[in-house]
């Protein structure tokens, strides 16, 4: 506790330095939690796309929502191709027109015939209450809600709710997945098709038959079939479609995510390094003020190692303190922001124990390393000269 007394000598200076580290760690924690969440979403996407080919209209750009209608005939055409185990036409449309969330996952309505994947989809949510949809639900106005969506709408199994203005009965609520299904309302394909038609421009609406609509077709290749080759054949066979494999997804999203991660982690590291420099400054000032005291200690038999250890320990303690406060404030922001966002399904952060421990350990070690420079200077002082220092 002699260490605390030394730090207590210049309370304002110590506080400001701790604050510098706090800001650095705070940034690391908050941005780290953001990166974790985004990476989790991307991994979830990867997992979702694994072993599937997503076929949508070629005029859809990127990997966003397939909002351009396709004809179910395309699904039948693909189903007949060699190497295709199942072709599962689906409708995916924004719920309440709320598709433009910048981060996280938008609220969605997914319409599909239960079991059309023939059990090949590896991504299978579990019900927390009620049940999942079955093929027998086709034609009924029933829905299974994601956990966040159910909380936002404040409804339970057996309740009735309106999806894009149309009433549905809730038959199940999913377990949280921390992924897109949490903010999705699953409906039978026929019900989804009607909702989809309603979202299309009026001119187009009149020319289309709701029961023949899909926004995408999930193709499950037969085992032993090369995904990329099948995707190429699908594009060649069906008119005007794009076919995306998990490799395409990983390539497109992976690169973007990596740059995003680099920027996020970079910003956090820069703020921590600035904090580290302020530790060097603080400890150098502290050593200068304590020149005489260091002379005393050296004269009465304190070794150089002891002098170094004392100063490095003080610096490390500043880092630890800043790290703990930064982590606490960062965790607070993460929890508050997530709670605030939960009602709108916007969960931006995920703070893992690994991030928390890393932030503390890193700030402590960084500060201790920053203390080495002034500590070595102190250790090299000549005791006699230092004793004369006023």
């Amino acid at each position: 506790m002699r260490l605390l007394r030394n730090l207590g000598r210049r309370k304002l200076r110590t506080t400001l330095t701790v604050l510098g580290i706090t800001i650095g760690v705070w940034t690391l924690v908050v941005f780290g939690a953001l990166a974790t969440k985004i990476n989790r979403l991307v991994d979830g996407g990867s997992q979702y796309y694994a072993g599937k080919i997503i076929v949508s209209d070629a005029s859809n750009s990127g990997i966003g929502l397939g909002t351009v209608p396709m004809d179910l005939a395309v699904a039948n055409q693909i189903r007949g191709m060699a190497g295709v185990a199942a072709a599962d036409p689906q409708v995916e449309i924004p719920l309440d027109g709320n598709a433009n969330a910048a981060f996280g996952t938008p609220n969605l309505i997914d319409g599909a015939v239960a079991g059309a994947d023939k059990g090949l989809d590896s991504f299978t949510p579990e019900p927390a209450q009620g049940r999942l949809l079955t093929a027998g639900d086709e034609g009924a106005q029933v829905t299974v809600l994601g956990s966040d969506l159910a909380r936002k709408l404040d409804v339970g199994v057996g309740d009735s709710t309106k999806l894009n203005g149309v009433p549905f009965t809730i038959v199940g609520i999913l377990q949280p997945t921390l992924l897109s299904p949490d903010t999705t309302a699953m409906v039978p394909l026929a019900a989804g098709q009607k909702l989809f038609l309603a979202t299309l421009p009026p001119l187009l609406r009149g020319t289309l038959d709701a029961s023949q609509l899909a926004s995408r077709i999930i193709v499950h290749p037969a085992s032993g079939t090369d995904e990329a080759a099948l995707a190429t054949r699908i594009k060649a066979t069906a008119d005007n479609v794009s076919a995306m494999t998990s490799a395409d997804f990983n390539q497109q999203v992976g690169a973007t995510t990596m740059i995003f991660n680099a920027i996020i982690i970079g910003v956090a590291l820069i703020s921590l390094i600035v904090g580290g420099l302020s530790v060097i400054n603080t400890m150098a000032m502290s050593v200068a003020e304590r020149t005489r005291e260091i002379g005393i200690k050296r004269a009465i038999g304190g070794s150089r190692i002891r002098v170094v250890r004392e100063i490095v320990a003080e610096a490390g303690f500043i880092g630890l303190l800043g790290g703990l406060i930064g982590l606490t404030l960062g965790a607070l922001v993460v929890v508050v922001a997530n709670e605030a966002g939960r009602s709108s399904g916007l969960i931006l952060f995920e703070l893992t124990p690994a991030t928390a421990i890393l932030a503390i350990v890193f700030s402590t070690i960084l500060a201790a390393i920053a203390g080495i420079v002034p500590a070595l200077h102190a250790a090299r002082l000549d005791p006699v000269t230092a004793l004369r220092y006023e």
Binding site: R2, R9, I296, K297, A299, I300, G301, S303, L387
Partner: protein
């Protein structure tokens, strides 16, 4: 048998590039076990420099003139590396300074315990030993006081407790009475003599104070970096 033997001690300090000071110009000195020796002389005569070399805080110059010799407790210590000199200072020597030089953030007992810790004691053991020493120098009721809360005389007694806590063979003091009035000076000298008589420790005191000199067994007089005369051993003061 001498505790300290030194010959050909030289020390030149470089003040600026062209300005050097020859602080010691070839000093021979021998100090016996159990002796209390005063080193006296005008300012700039090299007495503090001699004390720093005898106390292994500085090494004598080795690069000009006859090779310096320095033996402490039978061991050649003329050019030991810093780590070994520090270890000898910690375990076998005690220092008392004119400015007291206590650590301001530590209480009296902790200041004393610090020297014990440097000599290899556990902190708790050092605190116990330090408390005994403080009682011995008459400061049993001042354990937790910081240096700023103690008078000059009290601070110097804490410094003496610190110098003696490891029961070192040699105690070196640089103007120990320089900041004390005559009453406190006399008390301090009594205290040092008590240690000498009771524990047989060896003292080397640099001083301007004739009364301090008179209390010692022997006076070594210095001028211009040389020892003038070694006065004959005085009969030990009663």
């Amino acid at each position: 048998m001498p505790l300290l033997e030194a010959a050909n001690l030289r020390k030149t300090y470089k003040l600026t590039r062209n300005n050097t000071v020859e602080a010691l110009r070839g000093v021979d000195i021998s100090i016996n076990r159990g002796e209390m020796v005063a080193i006296m002389g005008p300012s700039g005569s090299g007495k503090s420099t001699l004390l720093h070399i005898l106390g292994l805080l500085h090494a004598p110059d080795a690069n000009h003139g006859p090779a310096p010799e320095l033996r402490f407790d039978g061991r050649d210590v003329a050019d030991l590396p810093d780590g070994q000199r520090t270890r000898i200072r910690a375990r076998q020597m005690g220092f008392v300074f004119q400015q007291f030089n206590l650590v301001p953030t530590l209480g009296a007992v902790e200041n004393v315990a610090l020297a014990g810790e440097y000599a290899g004691m556990k902190w708790s053991g050092a605190l116990t030993k330090a408390a005994e020493m403080l009682a011995y120098v008459g400061l049993a009721d001042r354990h937790g006081h910081r240096p700023s809360e103690l008078s000059g005389g009290e601070q110097q007694r804490v410094a003496i407790a610190r110098a003696l806590v490891n029961e070192p063979a040699l105690i070196l003091a640089d103007e120990p009475t320089g900041n004390l009035d005559s009453k406190r000076s006399a008390e301090l000298l009594d205290l040092l003599r008590r240690f000498k008589e009771e524990r047989g420790q060896t003292f080397v005191l640099v001083t301007h104070d004739a009364e301090v000199g008179a209390a010692c067994d022997r006076i070594v007089r210095m001028r211009d970096g040389l020892v003038l005369e070694a006065s004959m051993a005085l009969p030990a003061a009663a």
